[in-house]
């Protein structure tokens, strides 16, 4: 009796590839090798190297796109603080859209509870905030509505200052727009103040060396600017800019502010002053070397 495995082995031994099948397979493989060699030569890279390079390029492109998208949409490139007694600050992306808004005191927080400005263009956000119901009690005759702009781009800064000065929120309530150096943003936030209020604090500090950041936390913008005004009048150097409440704002030096003629060596570069008799006229005021110097005005087009 033949064992089963022997019968199976003998049966399968009868099966084999024909010489024609082997020959056609070899011919097919020769053609395939030539095609592959041609592709490899044309690429100039081996298959693994090519895939690696392609993968690396794809990864780099993805990273680049992510960074670009982040830079465009989520990286703050400008700040606008709105100070009255409520202190708010907008962070803007390269598209002039609000990507974050922060309150720096309780009044500011109250305003934010009533408005939503994220994603808005900054002009619309300002209109929305200033026009909000919660803001109205603070917009009194002697209020010192101050918009402070900080950005690394001089053209953007100029455009924003002018746009804000022409905005109805600024015009109707006699607001002013001032510029600040970007380097002050972190410093202001570190002290728990909005950019605009921190600028006002720095000016007051020149007159009152004992005043502290904590003091300014408790003061409204009109109170700070009123005290600055008192010092200027007390020194008998009226600047001819009646703000109604007697205040004006100055800001630290912007070292790269070429062409404005506003550079100062004491950290103050300019200010826009309010004119209650000409509401909405925003002006850029040259900084004083000393507190007694008169700032000059630069009126935004109306």
């Amino acid at each position: 009796m033949m064992r089963q495995d022997n019968r199976i082995r003998e049966a399968f031994d009868c099966i084999g590839a024909s010489q024609e099948l082997k020959a056609s397979t070899k011919e097919f493989l020769r053609d395939a090798r030539q095609r592959e060699a041609g592709r490899a030569g044309g690429r100039g890279l081996s298959r693994p190297a090519f895939r690696l390079a392609l993968g690396a390029a794809g990864a780099m492109l993805t990273v680049f796109l992510c960074i670009s998208a982040y830079a465009l949409l989520w990286m703050p490139v400008a700040y606008v603080s709105i100070d009255l007694n409520p202190s708010l600050e907008l962070e803007l992306n390269r598209l002039d859209r609000v990507i974050a808004v922060r309150a720096y005191n309780g009044d500011g927080q109250g305003i934010l509870e009533g408005v939503s400005v994220k994603g808005m263009r900054y002009e619309d956000a300002i209109e929305s905030i200033v026009g909000s119901e919660g803001m109205q009690p603070y917009l009194t005759q002697d209020a010192a509505l101050t918009f402070t702009v900080a950005t690394d781009s001089a053209p953007r800064e100029e455009r924003m200052l002018e746009d804000i000065a022409r905005s109805s929120g600024c015009v109707e309530h006699g607001g002013v727009s001032v510029r600040a150096d970007m380097s002050l943003v972190e410093e202001a936030h570190g002290n728990g103040l909005s950019l605009g209020k921190y600028l006002a604090y720095q000016v007051l500090l020149r007159y009152e060396p004992t005043v502290t950041v904590e003091d300014c936390h408790e003061m409204s913008m009109s109170q700070i600017s009123g005290r600055i005004e008192e010092h200027e009048h007390g020194a008998n150097h009226g600047n001819g800019h009646d703000r109604g409440h007697g205040g004006h704002e100055t800001e630290p030096e912007r070292g790269d502010e070429a062409g404005t003629g506003n550079e100062m060596g004491n950290g103050i570069i300019d200010e826009n002053s309010r004119h209650d008799d000409r509401p909405g006229e925003s002006s850029t005021v040259e900084p004083a070397e000393q507190p007694t110097e008169h700032p000059t005005e630069h009126h935004a087009e109306q």
Partner: protein, 167 residues
């Protein structure tokens, strides 16, 4: 045994032709009990050896290389059976093409093997012809050793029934 090709170069003509000579018969047998069609067999041949031509890995030895060819051939056959492009095949058609050159007794055994359900054929062929153990077959087919034992036992019983109790 040669290592990897390195640098992405394809295998040499001598190397591939040598593999065709070494493994063609085995691949032909696997194709026989899977495909049953000469035209499909030629397509699978080209698929398997093209994979070998482009294979970038290395083999640890002749047995490793042989097992690789078995796995690739089985996968190619299964893929081909699922393919829309496969040629229409009739049962045992390919065997009929070679029937003239096969003694009647062997034809009967082959027909019995080809008549087994597909899941038994691989185990029967690999064990009774290629001489692999159940554990080795399990490694090649991706099945547990006990499963292979079960396949072999049932397949053997079906063959006995088909070919007579004397085997």
């Amino acid at each position: 045994m040669r290592g990897g090709k390195g640098g992405g170069a394809v295998r040499s003509e001598v190397e591939v032709d040598s593999a065709v000579e070494r493994y063609s018969d085995m691949i032909r047998r696997i194709c026989l009990y899977h495909l049953k069609n000469a035209a499909d067999t030629e397509d699978v041949f080209q698929t398997v050896f093209l994979k070998y031509l482009l294979h970038e890995g290395s083999f640890e030895g002749p047995e490793h290389e042989k097992a690789w060819f078995i796995r690739v051939t089985l996968n190619a056959c299964r893929d081909y059976l699922k393919s829309f492009f496969r040629h229409s095949a009739l049962p045992l058609e390919e065997l009929a093409e070679e029937a003239a050159s096969i003694p009647p007794e062997q034809t009967e055994v082959l027909e019995a093997v080809l008549a087994l359900p597909a899941k038994y054929r691989d185990a029967i062929y690999l064990h009774y012809y290629e001489g692999y153990s159940a554990a080795e077959i399990g490694g090649i087919l991706g099945k547990k050793e006990n499963t292979v034992y079960s396949l072999l036992g049932r397949g053997r019983a079906m063959l006995r029934k088909a070919l007579g109790g004397d085997i």
